[in-house]
């Protein structure tokens, strides 16, 4: 973990609520090793109503350009302030934080990555790493409308993209758990990130099929590195910090399906 100033290289609107912000270390040093599922804590120092950092998952690591990608949804004053930053400005990060998705050793495995809304962010980095290891990757991304399905071209580089939208403007109409691929395909491992109701529903489908499932949680946190004990999740091992023992948990460890 380190506290580092980054320079914003670009800040692009993906839709009316989400921005893709690409940053590079201000001291030009190479980015340290990072794993899919890890996150950063962004300092929000120009919003008077915001005190704490904002946890943002690592969307992608571009080693060639030495860039870290952050997909930020404008939810409140803190994230709005982050999204307002312009190329050339500085942003301070504590990173890399948290554990990561499990990257299995096998070769023939077939993976399903299920995301909703801005919860798709860490799945791009995960998909890239799985693809690089020669695994077959399917992405299943859901949103209210076509404009909510972000970074489609990026996802398509690393696997097959399936979509659901509530208004039917892209892919199948409905929610991710209703997509026809659940009937047609079998997977060896399922990863999910998004709203809690969506992840619980995905975990239930995975359990019904006897497929291991990992979910990335977005519990409220203060520090992000295991000191404050605010972000705990109830697990089979008691209350665990989402920031250090997670954010990725095997869903069998969680109390969701009890």
């Amino acid at each position: 973990m380190q506290v580092t100033d980054f320079i914003i290289r670009s800040n692009e609107a993906l839709n009316d609520r989400n921005r893709l912000i690409k940053v590079t270390p201000a001291d030009h040093r190479h980015l340290p090793p990072m794993q899919p599922g890890q996150f950063v804590q962004v300092l929000v120092d120009r919003s008077p109503g915001t005190f704490l950092r904002r946890p943002i998952s690592i969307n992608f690591v571009d080693r060639e350009k030495n860039e870290l990608w952050l997909l930020v949804q404008e939810v409140g004053d803190g994230t709005r302030e982050i999204c307002s930053r312009q190329p050339g400005e500085v942003v301070n990060l504590i990173y890399p934080l948290g554990n990561s998705f499990t990257l299995p050793e096998g070769k023939s495995d077939h993976f399903l990555l299920v995301g909703g809304g801005v919860g798709t962010a860490p799945l791009l980095f995960l998909g890239k790493e799985l693809h690089a290891r020669g695994f077959q990757v399917d992405f299943l991304l859901g949103g209210r409308s076509a404009t909510d399905i972000l970074q489609r071209a990026d996802f398509e580089q690393y696997g097959t993209l399936y979509c659901t939208t509530e208004d039917g403007s892209l892919g199948e109409k409905g929610f991710v758990i209703h997509h026809s691929l659940w009937q047609e395909k079998r997977y060896d491992f399922i990863y999910t990130c998004g709203s809690r109701p969506m992840m619980v529903a995905v975990a239930r489908l995975a359990r019904e099929r006897g497929v291991p499932c990992e979910a990335s949680l977005e519990n409220l946190m203060a520090c992000g590195f295991g000191a404050c004990l605010c972000c705990v999740e109830k697990t089979t091992r008691g209350n665990l910090n989402t920031c250090t023992e997670g954010p990725v948990f095997n869903t069998d460890m969680l109390s969701w399906l009890d």
Binding site: L220, A222, G226
Partner: protein, 303 residues
């Protein structure tokens, strides 16, 4: 270069900057960020006789210039601490001190007794001010009688430096400070968090699972300063000032109203390197103003 070392009871801190319990884990969580050898000391997570799972999530709500927490003393218990955590942290190059919490006087005493046996445990901080536990905790710190009772009982079993951490949720904090001084406390630390509440208007629900929680951060600093000032004029034992300290100016302010040392708490979450910057800032301040020792600043503010 001015002298930074300060005296808290029988304990010499290499400088007045320490960390507030519950914000710095066991020090281990900060090793990537801070050379602990640069700090006056570390107060580790509140420790109880029995292990505690703490309160249900959500345990935290951000506020203007601060946060509410309702962690509820989640900790693995004193036996686990002694067997598994102490052997690691006793090697750290600063005073590692335990914040002792409990729900009964017997619990405080048994916990303190276990810690008294440890060679490299020069002091404890008696937490009679946690607002987030159903029984005990803050209840001990909000009456003169019970604060005196628990201090007296622990004093009998803990011969080393005993610091009593006071609650601000009282009408007269100076009276409580005098009471614990009278029972042999070597120092007092203040303030713990203020009992507060946060509400979600849209959902018409409290934001914390416990409804109320402890408020910390820069928003409490003016009240904490006033309380340190009041206690300074009421007791003769040293004071460790706590409450929203983010930078060296904040630390100097607490020292000027009467604190011998300070604890940096919630701001560690925003800048995990804050403590070291504060040590440097205090040193620069002393040089700039020609003070020989940080102790010369203690209580300089007069009416």
């Amino acid at each position: 270069m001015a002298r930074l070392d300060v005296q808290i009871g029988g304990l010499t801190l290499r400088n007045p900057v320490t960390t507030a319990s519950g914000t710095f884990g066991y020090g281990t969580e900060y090793l990537d960020f801070v050379d602990l050898g640069r700090l006056g000391g570390v107060f580790v997570k509140g420790t109880t006789l029995e292990p505690r799972q703490g309160n249900d999530y959500p345990r935290m709500a951000e506020t203007a210039s601060g946060m509410l927490n309702a962690v509820g003393l989640q900790n693995p218990g004193v036996d686990y601490f002694v067997e598994h955590l102490y052997p690691v942290i006793k090697e750290y190059d600063t005073h590692m001190m335990v914040n002792v919490s409990g729900s009964t006087i017997e619990g405080y005493v048994a916990c303190a007794e276990r810690l008294a046996d440890l060679d490299k445990m020069p002091a404890i901080e008696l937490n009679i001010s946690c607002p987030n536990v159903k029984e005990g905790g803050m209840a001990f710190g909000t009456s003169v009688k019970s604060a005196a009772e628990v201090t007296r009982a622990v004093r009998k079993v803990f011969p080393k430096t005993m610091i009593v951490k006071l609650s601000p949720n009282v009408t007269n904090i100076a009276e409580i400070a005098k009471a614990v001084e009278g029972e042999g406390a070597d120092a007092v630390s203040l303030v713990n968090t203020f009992l507060g509440m946060a509400v979600d208007a849209e959902r018409r629900q409290p934001l914390l699972s416990t409804v109320t929680g402890g408020l910390s951060g820069p928003c409490i600093k003016p009240i904490a300063l006033r309380m340190v000032w009041e206690v300074f004029h009421a007791v003769n034992i040293p004071i460790i000032g706590i409450g929203g300290i983010c930078n060296w100016q904040d630390a100097i302010e607490f020292i000027l109203v009467g604190a011998t040392a300070v604890q940096v708490g919630t701001y560690n979450f925003i800048d995990p390197t804050a403590t070291v910057k504060i040590v440097e800032g205090i040193n620069d301040y002393l040089d700039r103003h020609g003070f020989k020792s940080v102790s010369d600043l203690v209580g300089l503010i007069r009416k």
